[in-house]
């Protein structure tokens, strides 16, 4: 257990696709105890499950392995610990790839832990037989109604297995699905010896985790008053300075761009929020509105007063399933009369498809005139109806794949058989894509057994 009065935990990756400069600069540009990285979104799990079905060594976030290769010298020299949900649906394969990177770099004796137990894709029939219907939380329907189309199923694990891995001496912890705040809460539990019943402390860690989980979104990214953000290009990623009593500060490394202010932190607190008084996680329920924020200046915001309560007896489950097909294509229509011509183009496409017996319900098709107030439809927006050019965006979706394919053939012909000034077709015909839908469900916690294993490079 840690004796020093605070632990520094940074999040260097807000999602799979975030800049590699986040972790690279965090390990280089200032003090740090833990680096956390979030790679998983709901749609990611389905993609990874398919990759694994094709190749038993795939199914994890390959970006993580590249990130480790690039930061390894700093991780070794500064003894920075790493916690990442990069394991996806194949954390053991991810671990193998990381160990291989270490072997190539000549790094020996580093411990890599793997947390498993979240992936219930292979257990769905067993769980159904045991009387777990995995009902859709929104519709109430049992999972059996879409069972044959399910492509992934994972529970959101909590932070205690991560703490367990750290207690076993791991410097790198690879998990599958867990909550995003759990990545930072695990190190806090480990460092300070927080217990499952310490609901206020767990709430503090959860709120801290929520603030940093989207990286630069709390240090000036995606910020309303964007002109006031200094050096957004070089914005620092957020760092939590957590203390044993649950009081913490949000800050960033000196010399980095962006900013940490009361407003920048507040922007992230409300992101993807539901009831601010009841943020339900696997380890606790946190009351976001219980905290007091104080801006200390110099890119430091202090947070205290977090209140929490007991969690529920269920895990949230994220299940993905195949739910039809879609296709989206676009063309650029120049002026004069750009909007009027784009409307004609859309009408032409639907008319030609209908001539060939291919029609879509209103709910199955989309027409957007990008540049003519698509994003803020219905709000007072100046000059929305007189764009000098628009991007015509057409889409369809449905269960009948043949109809979706037929649609993809009618967009590009507009270049020669529509009104003048239609261009931007370099991508050729649009692709047909699978729709992956989500099935939120709950599963009793006693149905899940987590497993932590440690390997040494």
């Amino acid at each position: 257990m840690r004796q020093q009065d605070q632990v520094l935990i940074a999040n260097g990756q807000g999602f799979w696709g975030d800049s590699i400069l986040g972790p690279v600069r965090l390990v280089r540009e200032g003090p740090l105890d833990y680096l956390t990285l979030d790679y998983l979104a709901e749609v990611t799990m389905s993609i990874l499950q398919k990759q694994r079905a094709r190749d038993p060594k795939a199914g994890y976030a390959t970006d993580f392995v590249r990130m480790i290769a690039r930061t390894l010298p700093d991780l070794v020299a500064k003894q920075i610990k790493v916690v990442a949900n990069a394991g996806g649906v194949n954390p053991l394969a991810c671990k193998d790839a990381v160990l291989e990177v270490m072997a190539r770099a000549g790094v020996r004796g580093m411990k890599v832990a793997v947390v498993e137990g979240d992936d219930i894709f292979g257990r769905l029939d067993e769980l159904a037989a045991a009387g777990e219907p995995l009902r859709n939380m929104d519709t109430g329907a049992p999972l059996s109604s879409v069972r044959e189309r399910v492509s992934s199923a994972n529970v959101y694990l909590g932070a205690f297995p991560i703490a367990e891995a750290l207690a076993l001496g791991a410097q790198i912890v690879i998990t599958g699905r867990g909550t995003d705040p759990g990545l930072v809460l695990g190190p806090m539990i480990h460092e300070f010896g927080w217990k499952p019943g310490d609901y206020d402390l767990l709430a503090a860690g959860t709120i801290a985790g929520h603030i940093v989980e989207c990286g630069v979104q709390c240090t000036g990214g995606n910020y309303t008053d964007w002109r006031s953000v200094p050096d957004l290009a070089m914005a620092g990623y957020p760092i939590i300075e957590m203390r044993p009593n649950g009081e913490f500060a949000i800050t960033k490394h000196a010399g980095t761009g962006g900013m940490v202010t009361l407003r920048s932190v507040l922007h992230q607190l409300v992101y993807e929020m539901g009831d601010p008084h009841r943020y339900i996680g696997p380890d606790n329920c946190a009351d976001f509105d219980s905290i007091t924020l104080s801006d200390k200046g110099g890119d430091r915001v202090e947070v205290r007063g977090a209140k929490g309560s007991a969690p529920t007896d269920t895990y949230k489950v994220s299940i993905s399933y195949q739910d039809g097909w879609k296709s989206l294509g676009q063309l650029t229509v120049s002026g004069p009369d750009a909007l009027e011509k784009a409307r004609l183009c859309a009408d032409i496409v639907w008319k030609r498809l209908a001539f060939d017996g291919c029609t879509f319900d209103e709910d199955e098709k989309l027409v957007e005139f990008v540049g003519a107030n698509v994003c803020h439809a219905g709000l007072p927006v100046p000059h929305a109806n007189e764009p000098s050019e628009v991007v015509l965006r057409l889409g369809v979706k449905g269960r009948d794949k043949a109809k979706i394919e037929r649609f993809t053939y009618e967009l590009v012909p507009l270049v020669t058989s529509g009104p003048p000034g239609v261009t931007g077709f370099a991508g050729g015909r649009p692709q047909v894509q699978e729709i992956v839908a989500f099935w939120p469900a709950l599963l009793r916690k006693d149905k899940i057994r987590t497993r932590v294993q440690v390997f040494t490079s």
């Binding site: 309303t224 006031s228 507040l266 993807e272 539901g274 957007e368 698509v374 219905g378 709000l379 699978e434």
Partner: protein, 120 residues
């Protein structure tokens, strides 16, 4: 009363929650929060966002943080990969709501710093 955009007295950020989007509206002064808590009703937000959202609008209040959180029940065209919309994640919904026009008392405006230049 002065007709201004919501951006004059509040910040906002939005994102997705399944088939719904959420918009966190952050009042920039205690006076602005008190005014918005009474004036910015779910019904008003529903009407302002009718071009984007087809579902029910639900409001949560965070008095301590001075934030109002709106859930727009059906605003993403199905959500996730089922959506055909450009903004399938509701990233722009916060800025949309900030364009909404409200009649705000002068004393609320006087008490609330005008930093909305970049949002308008």
């Amino acid at each position: 009363m002065v007709k201004v955009q919501l951006a004059r007295i509040a910040d906002a950020r939005s994102g997705d929650k399944g088939e719904a989007s959420n918009i966190g509206v952050m009042a920039r002064s205690p006076q602005a929060y008190a005014y918005l808590k009474s004036a910015l009703t779910p019904g008003l937000v529903q009407a302002a966002m009718a071009g984007i959202n087809r579902g029910e609008v639900k409001r949560y209040e965070g008095d301590g943080l001075r934030v109002l959180n709106f859930l727009l029940g059906d605003s993403l065209g199905g959500g996730g990969s089922a959506s055909l919309r450009t903004d399938a994640q509701g990233k722009t919904h916060g800025l949309a709501l900030l364009r909404m026009e409200l009649d705000v008392p002068q004393n609320v405006l006087d008490a609330t710093p005008d930093v909305s230049g970049s949002a308008q």
